[in-house]
Amino acid sequence: MTDRGLILACSAIGAGLAMIAGIGPGVGQGIAAGHGAAAVGRNPGAKGTIMSTMLLGQAVAETTGLYGFAVAIILLFANPLIGRL
């Protein structure tokens, strides 16, 4: 196996591992959505406010997952390690 091939293969594995970061935001957004649904059930009049607060919280919770996604994309398409050969 060439050095380049090794780096490419390990980068692909690393990109897959980086996307494990998607678990956290998934759980977090689910919890937020569940509590949002409970809140709407308790107070249907405040649906608009609850909705926007929930979406804002979910978007912030998503950030960590997107960091993982950025790492995966960089490893796959703009690999900095190949330049070090």
């Binding site: 926007s52 978007a59 998503e62 950030t63 997107l66 960091y67 960089i74 398409f77 703009a78 900095p80």
Partner: protein, 254 residues
């Protein structure tokens, strides 16, 4: 020259990073169309700039038509459907800023929020029209987030004077964390928008590039509905909301 500089200066369009993929079918990267020299550097005219120009053109045409319709409007009669839609949009933006930033300051920021709302929304749904969304380029989203960053600190100094700086040292032990938190704001805002739009672009690029032409009848419309319209609208809303929340945080502790 590390990856950081190539990401920041030219989006993903570095020398050999111009095309994300070597496979001809799969394309979701930033393509360079035309090379020119600017201040001694080799610069490319990329997809991002062209789609940004198209988005700006569409917004300008819309603004000109809306302007003409508003000028010709007869206050005696009921407004037509187009005028009604414009009034509804302006009203919605005014309400959004006033509920989030307060009656006193909200009106001043309605223009800015409305502008970035239109621009980001149209950029995000550009994928529907076969264009590569400009917001899937880190340069664009970082620029938008830096505008917000400057606005936050401009308003901080305006309303809290020197308190804006002393707030950083409030619990003295937490000073480094406060400073990092301030600097992380534009980074996380830009990465959030960039990551969401880019993930949609990558997914659509893979689906269009890897599947047979006959396997692509009609059903990708559902994915476009999710990735471009739904996700794009949500991210636009979130970006505007976060901008408003961060700016209105500087009003309070006067």
């Amino acid at each position: 020259m590390g990856i950081g500089s190539s990401l920041l200066s030219t989006g993903f369009a570095g020398q050999n990073l111009l095309q994300f993929s070597t496979d001809e079918n799969v394309s979701f990267g930033v393509n360079g169309f035309w090379q020119y020299r600017f201040l001694g550097q080799e610069v490319w005219l990329t997809t991002t700039q062209i789609t940004t120009l198209i988005v700006m053109l569409a917004l300008t045409v819309f603004a000109l038509i809306a302007n003409r319709v508003i000028r010709k409007a007869d206050p005696e009669k009921a407004p037509g459907p187009f005028l009604n839609a414009i009034e509804y949009m302006v009203d919605a933006i005014d309400n959004l800023t006033k509920t989030n930033m307060g009656e006193k300051h909200g009106g001043k920021f309605a223009n800015y929020i409305g502008t970035i709302f239109c621009f980001i929304l149209l950029s995000n749904i550009a994928g529907l029209f076969g264009l590569r969304p400009p917001t899937a380029d880190y340069g664009v989203t970082l620029g938008l987030a830096l505008i917000t960053f400057v606005l936050i600190h401009y308003n901080g100094f305006k309303y809290q004077k020197m308190g804006h700086i002393t707030n950083l040292f409030k619990p003295v032990l937490l000073t480094p964390i406060n400073i990092i938190g301030e600097l992380a704001t534009p980074l996380s805002m830009s990465l959030r928008l960039f990551g969401n739009v880019l993930s949609g672009t990558v997914m659509m690029g893979l689906i269009y590039g890897l599947l047979n032409r006959f396997a692509l009848i009609a059903w990708p419309a559902v994915l476009h509905g999710y990735f471009d319209v739904f996700s794009g609208a949500i991210q636009t809303y979130v970006f505007c909301m976060l901008t408003m929340v961060f700016i209105s945080n500087t009003f309070e502790e006067e």
